[in-house]
């Protein structure tokens, strides 16, 4: 498909003034899918721990295409497209399951977990009165008609896939800066799945990336954070990016390794900015520092990593999760949270992670706010697409910082986005 949306007007030349039209145009959205989700990029598909046994599978998406992450009999992980090679049907309906094969219900074509076509009903025709009728042509070779297989990369128990088999390695894709934050969280310990949250957010998918590249809002929008002392704009912090400025890490360190000090610590371990406000159940913030938090000479208490385009890795004190962005048209996306823990967690730590997960997800004390502001932003964008948003806090340039009072990461993401979206049309037939 070749689509050339009208050129956007970037006021002031750079990316500090973002045209509303980047969020409102369906043609531009199709181009994003082609250029960002289906070519040259890695997308998150899940955690190995979601499919621990041979035959386990999970249905998910890359961009807007339905894919299945499978574990074959030999333990190998595969990602195949959920499109029957015969008539194109999206055959797998279950979200999770275990199967030795996939059978399309329409004509019962069957596939192995790695996508190999196994059986074609009446391939050799049907006998009637001593004569064989129909069947596939003699030169029909099942090897040529498997499911579309994606390139797969697994690191630290996290599974990524790409329709583009020429994509660079996952490590090069992340780059050394982001890789060290990724490896800090996914440091080789086996993961355990604690549960999921799913929500539909009626806004453009990029707004969720921007939300987690925006350290300006947490202390202002999320009054819960401020009230109970989890986020302060003057926390020790850094904003880091890969060389392309597409990925980022917001790194912050709360005083005393996440634990409150002084009098409040004796009561709730939380120092409240409104001292009179107390949590009915202080265990929501029963924070216990963990050894893996340390990275070189620093011990961040929160690292929010945005991996462009499809995923956010969250560590907010003891709560760890992946957040999968699943676009559905230019004006909506599904947001799927996978809360996890580690195999060596004590039962108390598992309880603690589960309790702290109450801050997140569609009804989370904190995250409920983000879904709403994205929805309301999208509403305004649709009403005047010729207008633009401002992202000029901290200047108009792009660069890493040792503070949070800047929108540099958003400017960085659009710098990369413009490079990809404004590149001349290649003979991009739309990938496999």
């Amino acid at each position: 498909m070749s689509v050339s949306p009208d050129a956007l007007h970037w006021e002031a030349g750079g990316t500090s003034r973002i045209p509303f039209a980047v969020y409102t145009d369906e043609q531009r959205h199709q181009r994003e899918l082609e250029r960002i989700f289906y070519q040259g990029h890695w997308c998150y598909v899940g955690l190995e721990a979601e499919i621990p046994n041979a035959g386990d599978f999970k249905r998910t998406v890359v961009g807007e295409r339905s894919v299945i992450m499978t574990r074959a009999a030999d333990g190998q992980i595969h990602v195949v497209e959920n499109v029957c090679a015969h008539r194109g049907m999206r055959f797998c309906r279950k979200r999770h399951g275990n199967a030795t094969e996939f059978v399309c219900p329409y004509h019962q074509w069957s596939y192995q977990p790695d996508g190999t076509l196994q059986g074609v009903p009446f391939r050799r025709g049907v006998r009637q009165d001593g004569k064989v009728n129909g069947g596939m042509p003699a030169d029909f070779n099942p090897k040529d008609h498997g499911l579309t297989r994606l390139k797969v990369a697994v690191r630290g128990g996290v599974v990524f896939a790409s329709f583009d088999h020429d994509v660079e390695s996952l490590e090069d894709y992340m780059g050394p800066t982001i890789l060290q934050y990724f490896d800090r969280l996914f440091n080789g310990r086996k993961l355990t799945i604690l549960g999921y949250n799913r929500q539909r957010i009626p806004g453009n998918w990029k707004l969720m990336q921007e939300n987690i590249k925006d350290p300006y809002h947490p202390g202002l929008l999320h009054t819960w954070f401020v009230t109970f002392g989890l986020w302060r704009a003057d926390n020790r912090s850094e904003l880091r990016m890969d060389a392309h400025h597409r990925h980022a890490a917001m790194v912050s360190t709360r005083g005393s390794m996440g634990q409150a000090s002084g009098q409040a610590a004796h009561v709730t371990q939380v120092s409240s900015f409104k001292e009179s406000m107390q949590l009915e159940d202080p265990r929501f913030l029963d924070i216990v520092p963990e050894p893996w938090w340390q990275l070189e000479d620093k011990t961040p208490t929160a690292v929010m990593t945005t991996l462009f385009p499809s995923v956010i890795f969250q560590q907010q004190v003891n709560s760890v999760s992946t957040r999968h962005i699943q676009p559905d048209g230019h004006g909506a996306f599904d947001f799927v949270w996978t809360h996890f823990g580690f195999e060596d967690d004590t039962p108390e730590m598992t309880q603690r992670r589960l309790r702290q997960a109450n801050l997140f997800g569609p009804a989370g004390f904190v995250s409920a706010d983000d879904g709403e502001v994205i929805e309301f932003s999208q509403q305004a964008f649709e009403s005047k697409p010729q207008h633009r948003a401002l992202a000029e806090l901290g200047g108009r340039e792009v660069g890493e910082t040792d503070h949070m009072v800047t929108e540099t990461l958003i400017r960085g993401m659009y710098e990369y986005w413009r490079k990809v979206m404004e590149a001349p049309e290649k003979c991009d037939g739309g990938a496999a």
Partner: protein, 103 residues
Amino acid sequence: MSNWTDVAAEADLFEGAGIPVSPGGRDIALFAVEGEVFATDNLCTHGNARLCDGFVEGHEIECPFHQGRFDLRTGEATLPPCTQPIKVWPVKVEGGRVFLSLG
């Protein structure tokens, strides 16, 4: 002592595929291979296909749905996606009639 049931005329059989018979409501397929007769359960243990509609290759029957195979002599599954054996039945041919021991 076996109890033999007359299920078909030998002349109804032909090489290359099977014919269905249903003694006592059972669904059984008969196959002729190089003049010898074999009987198996007709329903494939993998999908809902009838093996009598399949294709005989040597002493194997290839299922018409997913191209898995069974050995007609033992019932053993010899090619995926079939993994579970099919039941085979004792056969004798006498006076142009095919008898099964359904005991």
